[in-house]
Symmetry: C2
Subunit: 417 residues, 2 copies
């Protein structure tokens, strides 16, 4: 049984969503402007609330990296505001006619984009996501129920207070953006069963969060972000390019989901390639975990276990496995990958084709870094996350991915025989 | 923990799906031909197995309607075979390039349709669904795991034996179409947790089945078919048309999901309209359950309770409620409807627009019967079901709705700054 807070917020969001579905682009853009202004007006209380979270987190012994993601300052608020401007500038997908046709019986069928309805966002203690997610959902006419991490609760309450003030000022319904204030973990499964009010759940965070959500939700979920990505260096690869791609994919931002975790190298070039690669990896302080063959070439590498092939390190560790060719590479990736982003470095067209056809992932690259799997890099302007499932949306999700459609059919009295 | 049968079949399906994703349309069509021929060749064993099911069902006291849906004969097998020909004739969506563009950094991005992978179909004791679902999934390059109702198990085993023989003859992988033979209900939740192997679950059946699946599945589900549909007779309606539509939507096939369950009538015309409608409903032996105002006009109507507004009768019962206008009609439908199909009968353009915009449903009609919500009537050629959820697909689902996409990106060494 859901708590009163959940039921009240769910009901309010549902009501709001029915209104938001038909709000004009102009009114939604105005609300985005108002939110931007409200962040200025409320900057002081937001930063004070954030300070409370940071001090509590410090006392609790949260890691430096964690506290850094939690922290807000004038510069970060300005970045969030810049994001709101970008979302305002994007074109509104709602109302787009995706198809229309006429049936022999005269029925005129139109397939029209509509909002998803009520979107639940579950995320970790990153207050920037609060505004980011709310603005993308608002632009697409969805009502949002946010459930952020408990360590950011004071920041989130302050941010959503500012958002709510702006939403009201813009004349949008009260339930447009709401925050679940009770962050007791035991309540999460109840939120995930509010099918009556919530149309979609989008978890944003680590593998554990996503697993918990998919296993407990009776609401449809869009899984995002778990990324055990691979780079496969085929034997004809330009080896200089291969090293650049491997270093970029592993080191440019190891904590993100589109970073590479395992490198697969063709046996035919391993002897020549791995020592050169190893020099560059060591410069970047990357720890190598290799298969038996790899360790014959790079004796200082640790031994990779089955667990390593499955692991999303999210840090400067790289597993390396020597494979006999493209087929073994494909099999390894389809077995251990999370269907996120995979790349092959090759000059061989046939190998590239086998790879792009054979790999089951959201994004498959030839001769490029996996780090490009990102809404911005795809040209989407903004992104709510990267879907690693196959239903609804795959890969980076921009505004159209936050919509559904309905069929509107005009007749003149048709009945079915 | 899943049983050995589930694990073995899951693994085999997964392997098959990776091959099927790249099988040519020609090879898939050939397999559909082989299945058609195998149904002839194995007709005797299929009908014998069906007889075993029918006798057991009769002994068990299953209803006549149930046994009718379970029964196969030469004519029904011929219908199934005709269906296979239709699916063969449909164009194959796999491989379609949905979009392609080039980024300023030279990356060439292509969005390409791919199969969903492994589809689990859970359905009731209707053996025609076995071949129907398997053929649609096969045509779209998906592997299928079928879990049909226990009362059709012998028929299904015989049908899937014929299908498997055909699939093998056509050179497709062994795991292309499989049946779960252990129909113990207690195993269903285990099937619904085979996330490692199954990409999507599609339940086909009544509300209880669908609810059980959505509540227990950790695999993404496409909900189909629950239909509490409404017809709203607005005060400017052509009343003759309104009666025709109401009778068609209620009576032409009351057991299906796109039949109407509740009629909403504007107060302004109720006095004139309801008695005329009532005459026609009585001719069709429809039981009327009315709100208080309705019963003042039609005193013989039973009293409708809150439960009636929520109910999908699937039989010749119609609830009638008098409403003050389009706004109350929209609110009633959005509160009690299952987001399937809703219709307004009106001559007023403004009312029609309010209705089509305000109603949250897969299909919204103006001046036509809800009975047209059907893949065939939409011109899709075939249908796997009617989605009542908003993710992935809404309304009738044809072949494209059985696919996902992946991004294939070609570069020349791009790394991310």
């Amino acid at each position: 049984m859901a708590t009163q807070e959940l039921l009240t917020k769910g009901k309010l969001a549902k009501e709001a969503s029915l209104i938001l579905a038909n709000v004009s682009t102009k009114a939604k853009n105005q609300a985005l402007d108002e939110i931007r202004l409200a962040l200025d007006k409320n900057a002081k209380s937001i930063l004070e609330a954030n300070k409370v979270d940071l001090e509590a987190g410090d006392k609790k012994g949260l890691s430096k990296a964690f506290l850094d993601r939690l922290a807000l300052d004038g510069k970060r608020i300005a970045e969030i505001q810049a994001g709101l401007k970008v979302v305002k500038g994007l074109s509104d997908p709602v109302g787009e006619v995706l198809a229309d046709w006429k049936r022999p019986n005269g029925l005129k069928i139109k397939k029209v984009r509509v909002p998803l309805g009520v979107i639940g966002i579950i995320y970790e203690s990153r207050p920037n996501v609060t505004v980011d997610a709310a603005s993308l959902c608002l632009k697409t006419g969805n009502a949002t129920i946010l459930r952020g991490g408990s360590d950011a609760i004071n920041s989130n309450i302050a941010l959503v207070a500012a958002i709510s003030e702006a939403v009201e000022k813009a004349g949008l319904p009260k339930g447009t953006v709401q925050l679940i204030e009770n962050t007791d973990r035991a309540l999460l499964p109840e939120f995930l069963k509010l099918r009556e009010f919530v149309d979609v759940i989008i978890p944003r965070g680590g593998a554990d969060l996503i697993r918990m959500v998919t296993e407990n939700s009776s609401i449809p979920v869009i899984e995002t972000g778990e990324g055990n990505c691979h780079a496969y260096i085929e034997k004809t690869a330009n080896q200089k390019m291969a090293i650049e791609i491997a270093i970029n994919a592993k080191c440019s931002r190891p904590s993100v989901c589109n970073a590479v975790e395992t490198l697969l190298v063709d046996a035919a070039i391993a002897q020549a390639f791995l020592p050169k690669l190893s020099v560059e990896l060591l410069k970047q302080k990357v720890e190598i975990r290799g298969c038996g063959q790899t360790r014959k070439i790079l004796p200082s590498a640790k031994e990779a276990t089955e667990e390593d092939w499955e692991k999303e390190y999210n840090s400067l560790i790289l597993a390396i496995k020597i494979v006999s060719g493209v087929e073994e590479a494909i099999n390894h990736i389809n077995k251990y990958g999370t269907r996120h982003s995979e790349t092959i470095v090759t000059k061989n067209k046939r190998a590239a084709e086998l790879f792009t056809k054979g790999i089951d992932a959201a994004v498959v690259y030839v001769n490029a870094s996996t780090r490009f799997t990102d809404g911005g890099e795809f040209g989407f302007g903004a992104e709510i996350g990267i879907s690693t499932q196959k239903l609804h949306a795959r890969g980076p999700m921009g505004l159209p991915e936050l919509t559904s459609y309905k069929y509107i059919i005009h007749g003149n009295g048709q009945i079915r025989a």
